[in-house]
Amino acid sequence: MSAPTNDTQAGHAVEQSKFGLYIEIAMLLAVITGLELVTVYLPFMKWLLVTVLVVLSTVKFMFVIFYFMHLRWDKAFCTILFFIGLVLAGGTMWALLKLFGAEASKPLSSAMMDPPAAVLSVS
C-alpha cells in the first residue's frame, strides 16, 4: 500500500507526511466534543457555560481550518479572504441579535392582544 513518496521537491519546504498530525488533531476534536457534551450538565452560571462552549467550538473550528484545510501552510491571503467572510458573518449575526434582542423589538405578548375584561368594561 505504499506508493513512492515525493519528498524530493526543489526549492520549498519538504512535505512531511501529515498523517500522524491529522490523527492527533482528530482525537483532539473528539475529546473537545466530549467536553462540550459534559459542559451542558455542569451546574455553573449560564454566562460561564456559554463562554466555555463558544471557546471550545472556536478551538475546534480553528483546528479544522488551519490544519485540515491547510491554511497554516498556505499563503496568508487565503486566510485573509476567508476571515473577511467569517468576520462579516459574525458581525452581521451579532448586530441582528442585538437588534432583535432590544426592548423595542420584543414581539407584543398575547396578553396585550386580548386585554383583560376589566379594561374592556371601562367605557
Partner: protein, 664 residues
C-alpha cells in the same frame, strides 16, 4: 517570464481527455459560436446587449408610470397594473440593466487592463451569463401569463409577498428570478476575484492596477458577501409560499420585519455594487480627458474599499421608521453619516484630477462631469436621509425617489453611458459621432433634471411613493406634470443615445488605435482586440501602464520580442476550448425554475401522492443541470495552442475565422 510555463494545474495536452457524448465545439461564427463561447469579450458583449435590451423594458415601464401620474385621479393604469409597473421598473433597472452593463465592462475591459488573456474560469464565466439570461426570462415571463408580472415592489416586503396576500405565481417568479440572478452574479464575482488576484501580467502590482479594475474587485467582494443574505431571505419566503413554513407567518410567531433586515443587509451593499463600477469608469475617463493622472490614486482606492466595507454596516437606515429603538436607530444613523466621508473624499480627488488639467470636452467627459455634479446632488439628499428624524418625513415619499434616481441615473447611468462612448472605439473599432453624442447628453441631462428635481419638493410636501394616483387638492399637480414632461424628454434623449450607438455599430466612422490617447493597458490592443488579446503578455513598469509604454517604445518592443520567443518555445499561445455545457446547465436551470415557480402543485383529485407535473418538471430540470455539470467537469480544461504570424493573425486560421487544424 514564465507566463506560459506549463502549469501543473492544467491537464496535460499529451493526454487530452475525450469529451463524453457531445463534441468539442469549434465554430467561430454563427449561433453555435455564441452559445459555446468562453471568450470574455463576447460574454461582455452579450451582457451589454442584454442590459441595453432590458433598458428599453425598464424605460417603458417608467414612462407608463409617469403617464399615470401626470394628472390627478388618472385612470390610464389600474392600481394593479401600476403595482406591476413600479415593481418591474425597479427590478429591471437594478438587476437587468445596471448590473449587466457593469458586468459587460468587467468582462470586456478588466482582463485587458491587467494584461490577461481571459478570466480565470472561462466556462464558469459563460455559465454566469446564461444563468443571468434564465433569471431575466423567469422575472419577465409573468407579463405573458394570467398571473401577471411581479407586483409587490422590487424589495418584496413580507407579509405582502406571502401566499395569503399574493396568491398567484407572480411572486414565485420574482423570488425564483432573483435567486437565479444571485447565482449568476456570485459565480461571476468569484471568477473576477480570482482573475484580478491571480492573472495579472508580470509587474502589475496591486497598486499599479487601473482604478476600474480595483472597483471591479471591490464590487465582486460586495457581491459574494451580500447576495447570500438575499439568498436566505428568498429561500425563507419561498419555503413559506411552497411548504407553509412560518418564517413570516405572524400567527405562528413569524416576524415579517426579519425579511426587511435580511433584504437590506443585501440591499444596501447592492447599491454600492451599482455605484462602485460607475466610480471606476469615471476614474478612468477624467484622467484621460484631463491629460493628467488620477489625483490621489491610493486615497481613491482606499476610499473605494472603505465604502465597500462600511456599506455592510448601514442597512437599517432603510428601516428608521420601523421602531427599532433609540440605540439601534442612532447607531445606524451615525454609520450612514460616516460612509459619506470616503464618498466625499473621492469627489474631491476627481475634482483634483480636473484641476489644472488640459480638459478635452468630448462626450465621455461630459457624461463624467455630469456624473460628478449629479451624483453629488444625490449624495446630499442621501445625507439628509441619514438624519433619522428628518427621515421620518422623507421615508416612503418622493424625496427618496428623487435621491436614488439622482445617484442611480445621475450617478450609475451617466457613468455607464460615458463608458459605452469611451470604450466603443476599442470594442468595435468605430468612433461615435461627437455631435450626436453631445446632443444625446444634453437632452438626457435636461430631461433627467426636469423629471427628478421637482420630486424633492413633492416628497417634502408629503407625496407618498408606490401609490398609483393622487387627489387634485394636494398641491402635487404641478410637480408631477413637470416630472412627466421631463420623463418624455429623458426618453427622447435615451432614444437619441441608442439610435446613435446602433448607427455607429453598423456604419460608424472607423477609428485608429487609441483614439483618446488614453492611459491604461486595454488601449494598447488593436480595435477590436483579437481573440487572444495580447500578442505577448506585457511587462508592467508603472501605473497607467499604456501611458508608460507609449513613452518607452523601444524597451517595450524588446520585451515583446523576448516574450514572443518564450511563448513559441513553450508551444504557442494557450487558448481555452469552447464548451456547450455552461449553456446546457443553464437550460436545466430554466426547466427547474419553471417547475418551482410557475407550474401549479399537483391537483389531489388528479394526481395521487407526491408526484405531479410540478415535481416532475423540477426534477427533470435538476437532472439536465446535473448531467451537464458532470460532463462539464469531465470535459477537461486543457485548451489548445495557437501560433501567430507577424501581423498578429493566427497561423492556420482561414479568412472566415475557422480552424484549418485542431491544436498544433
Amino acid at each position: 517570464m514564465e507566463a506560459l510555463a506549463k502549469s501543473d494545474f492544467l491537464a496535460k495536452e499529451e493526454h487530452p481527455t475525450k469529451p463524453f457524448v457531445l463534441w468539442r465545439p469549434t465554430a467561430k461564427t454563427g449561433l453555435m459560436s455564441w452559445l459555446t463561447t468562453v471568450d470574455h469579450k463576447r460574454i461582455g458583449f452579450l451582457y451589454g446587449a442584454s442590459g441595453l435590451f432590458f433598458f428599453i423594458f425598464g424605460g417603458i415601464e417608467a414612462l407608463l408610470i409617469r403617464i399615470q401620474l401626470a394628472v390627478p385621479n388618472n385612470t390610464f393604469l389600474t392600481s394593479a397594473q401600476y403595482n406591476e409597473m413600479f415593481t418591474m421598473h425597479g427590478t429591471t433597472m437594478i438587476f437587468l440593466v445596471v448590473m449587466p452593463i457593469g458586468a459587460a465592462f468587467f468582462n470586456f475591459i478588466m482582463p485587458l487592463q491587467i494584461g490577461a488573456r481571459d478570466v480565470a474560469f472561462p466556462r464558469l464565466n459563460a455559465f454566469s451569463f446564461w444563468t443571468f439570461a434564465v433569471g431575466a426570462i423567469i422575472l419577465n415571463v409573468g407579463w405573458f401569463m394570467k398571473d401577471g408580472a411581479p407586483d409587490a415592489g422590487w424589495f418584496g416586503y413580507a407579509p405582502l409577498t406571502t401566499r395569503t396576500f399574493s396568491p398567484t405565481h407572480a411572486i414565485d417568479m420574482w423570488v425564483m428570478g432573483l435567486q437565479l440572478l444571485g447565482v449568476a452574479s456570485i459565480a461571476a464575482a468569484l471568477n473576477f476575484i480570482v482573475t484580478i488576484i491571480n492573472l495579472r501580467a508580470p509587474g502589475m502590482t496591486m497598486m499599479r492596477l487601473p482604478v476600474f479594475t480595483w472597483m471591479t474587485l471591490f464590487t465582486s467582494f460586495l457581491i459574494i458577501l451580500s447576495f447570500p443574505a438575499i439568498t436566505i431571505a428568498l429561500v425563507e419566503i419561498m419555503m413559506d409560499r411552497l411548504f407553509g413554513t412560518n418564517f413570516f407567518e405572524v400567527s405562528s410567531g413569524g416576524l415579517p420585519i426579519l425579511w426587511q433586515h435580511l433584504f437590506w443587509i443585501f440591499g444596501h451593499p447592492e447599491v454600492y455594487i451599482l455605484i462602485l463600477p460607475a466610480m471606476g469608469i469615471i476614474s478612468e475617463i477624467l484622467p484621460t480627458f484631463s491629460r493628467k493622472p488620477l489625483f490621489g490614486y491610493p486615497v481613491v482606492v482606499f476610499s473605494g474599499a472603505s465604502i465597500g466595507f462600511l456599506g455592510f454596516g448601514v442597512w437599517s437606515h432603510h428601516m428608521f421608521t420601523t421602531g427599532m429603538g433609540t440605540a439601534a436607530t442612532a447607531a445606524f444613523a451615525l454609520m450612514t453619516m460616516a460612509i459619506a466621508v470616503p464618498t466625499g473624499v473621492k469627489i474631491f480627488n476627481w475634482i483634483g484630477t480636473l484641476w489644472g488639467g488640459h480638459l478635452t470636452m468630448r462626450t465621455p467627459m461630459m457624461f463624467a462631469i455630469g456624473f460628478l455634479w449629479m451624483f453629488m446632488i444625490g449624495g446630499l439628499s442621501g445625507i439628509m436621509h441619514a438624519a433619522a428624524p428628518a427621515d421620518a418625513q422623507q421615508h416612503g415619499s418622493y424625496f427618496v425617489v428623487a435621491h436614488f434616481h439622482y445617484v442611480l441615473i445621475g450617478g450609475s447611468l451617466f457613468a455607464l453611458f460615458a463608458g459605452i462612448h469611451y470604450w466603443f472605439p476599442l470594442m468595435f473599432g468605430r468612433r461615435v459621432s461627437e455631435f450626436w453624442g453631445k446632443v444625446s447628453f444634453w437632452v438626457i441631462f435636461v430631461g433627467f433634471n426636469v423629471t427628478f428635481f421637482p420630486m424633492h419638493f413633492l416628497g417634502l410636501e408629503g407625496m407618498p411613493r408606490r401609490t398609483f394616483t393622487y387627489d387634485k387638492n394636494m398641491g402635487w399637480e404641478t410637480g408631477n406634470l413637470w416630472a412627466t414632461v421631463g420623463a418624455c424628454v429623458l426618453g427622447i434623449g435615451v432614444a437619441i443615445y441608442f439610435a446613435t450607438m446602433i448607427y455607429t455599430y453598423y456604419k460608424g466612422e472607423r477609428t485608429h488605435k487609441d483614439p483618446w490617447d488614453a492611459r491604461t493597458l486595454e488601449w494598447s490592443l488593436p480595435n477590436p482586440p483579437p481573440e487572444y488579446n495580447f500578442q505577448a503578455i506585457p511587462t508592467i513598469h508603472a501605473r497607467d501602464s499604456w501611458w508608460y509604454q507609449k513613452r518607452h517604445m523601444a524597451e517595450v518592443a524588446k520585451e515583446t520580442a523576448d516574450q514572443i520567443k518564450a511563448d513559441e518555445a513553450h508551444g504557442g499561445i494557450h487558448m481555452p476550448f469552447q464548451s456547450i455545457y455552461p449553456f446546457l446547465a443553464s437550460v436545466g436551470i430554466l426547466v427547474g425554475a419553471i417547475g418551482v415557480s410557475i407550474i401549479d402543485p399537483a391537483n389531489p383529485n388528479v394526481y395521487h401522492g407526491f408526484w405531479g407535473p410540478k415535481i416532475a418538471i423540477t426534477i427533470l430540470g435538476g437532472l439536465i443541470m446535473f448531467v451537464s455539470v458532470v460532463l462539464w467537469s469531465l470535459e477537461g480544461n486543457e485548451g489548445y495552442h495557437i501560433h501567430l504570424n507577424e501581423d498578429g493573425s493566427v497561423k492556420g486560421e482561414d479568412a472566415h475565422g475557422g480552424y484549418a487544424s485542431h491544436g498544433h
